[in-house]
């Protein structure tokens, strides 16, 4: 088989897209499942939208396989007032759980960055819980471009 450079490129992009696509074909979790998990995490409390929690995501992710995300919570991080944990959910993934970050006063700042997978365009949700029992939530929509070949 004699592939031109362009065909080769398209084939490899297609293969990469297939990887993401295969992921999205399986049953995706409904936002209700995410809401249920948030309820469990918050211990029945209604999370306050926004507040001290900031979730940073790209608006458009070209490759759903590595989407950089960042969470940060404004907190003094002292022994009696610090952020205990931050949990990340992706509403449209087959399994909405993404990660749980646990902080301690030794963390100095409640900030973390990582890279996640997104099956399709969807909302990413972050929920933070402080040692005082406050619960914050932030939500961002990330558009995921699937398919390639100049589309």
């Amino acid at each position: 088989m004699n592939l031109t450079r362009r065909q080769m490129l398209c084939a490899s992009v297609g293969a990469a897209a297939a990887g993401v696509f295969g992921f999205s074909l399986s049953a995706s979790a409904a936002p209700e499942a995410t809401a249920e998990s948030i309820k469990n995490f918050a211990g029945g409390k209604e999370p306050a939208m926004g507040g001290d929690l900031t979730l940073t995501t790209p608006e458009i992710a070209e490759n759903g396989n590595t989407v950089p995300i960042e969470v940060s919570v404004a907190s003094p991080m002292t022994d009696d007032d610090y952020v205990e944990s931050v949990v990340i959910y992706a509403e449209g993934n087959p399994n909405p759980d993404v990660a749980v970050f646990h902080f301690t006063p030794m963390s100095g700042a409640a900030e973390a960055k990582t890279r996640m997978r997104l099956a399709k365009t969807q909302n990413v949700v972050a929920v933070a819980k402080t040692s005082k029992g406050q619960v914050f939530m932030d939500k961002k929509e990330v558009k995921v471009t699937i398919g390639g070949c100049g589309g």
Partner: protein
């Protein structure tokens, strides 16, 4: 698994009470358990499910990872340094292996 190499970036020194940024990366496929192989069968899940960081034996930061974390998981977080000491990092694999590394930090 073989050929798993954790990489960590910690400043060599910090002033007492400074909040430093730590960057970690480990090469791992993070097989989600949802993909199918060439034979049409599901590839079994194998991911790093937990990451922890300790400083002089005290917990600083930990993280539970799910299959939705990208391959070669990258984690960046902060730590407050009050004294000289050693950071110990560990990654727990689904197959029971533990990958560890250590980094020393001095006080300016």
């Amino acid at each position: 698994m073989d050929n798993i190499k954790p990489r960590v970036k910690v400043p060599k020194s910090a002033s007492a009470g400074e909040v430093i940024t730590i960057k970690t990366l480990i090469n791992h496929p993070m097989e989600s358990g949802l993909r199918k192989g060439k034979d049409g069968k599901l590839i079994p899940r194998q991911i790093i499910n937990k990451f922890t960081c300790e400083f002089n034996g005290k917990p600083v930061f930990s993280c539970e990872l799910e299959p939705a974390i990208s391959a070669n998981p990258y984690i960046e977080f902060s730590a407050k340094v009050n004294e000289a000491g050693t950071f110990k990092f560990s990654w727990l694999d689904d197959d029971g292996s533990v990958y560890e590394t250590e980094n020393k930090i001095a006080i300016k």
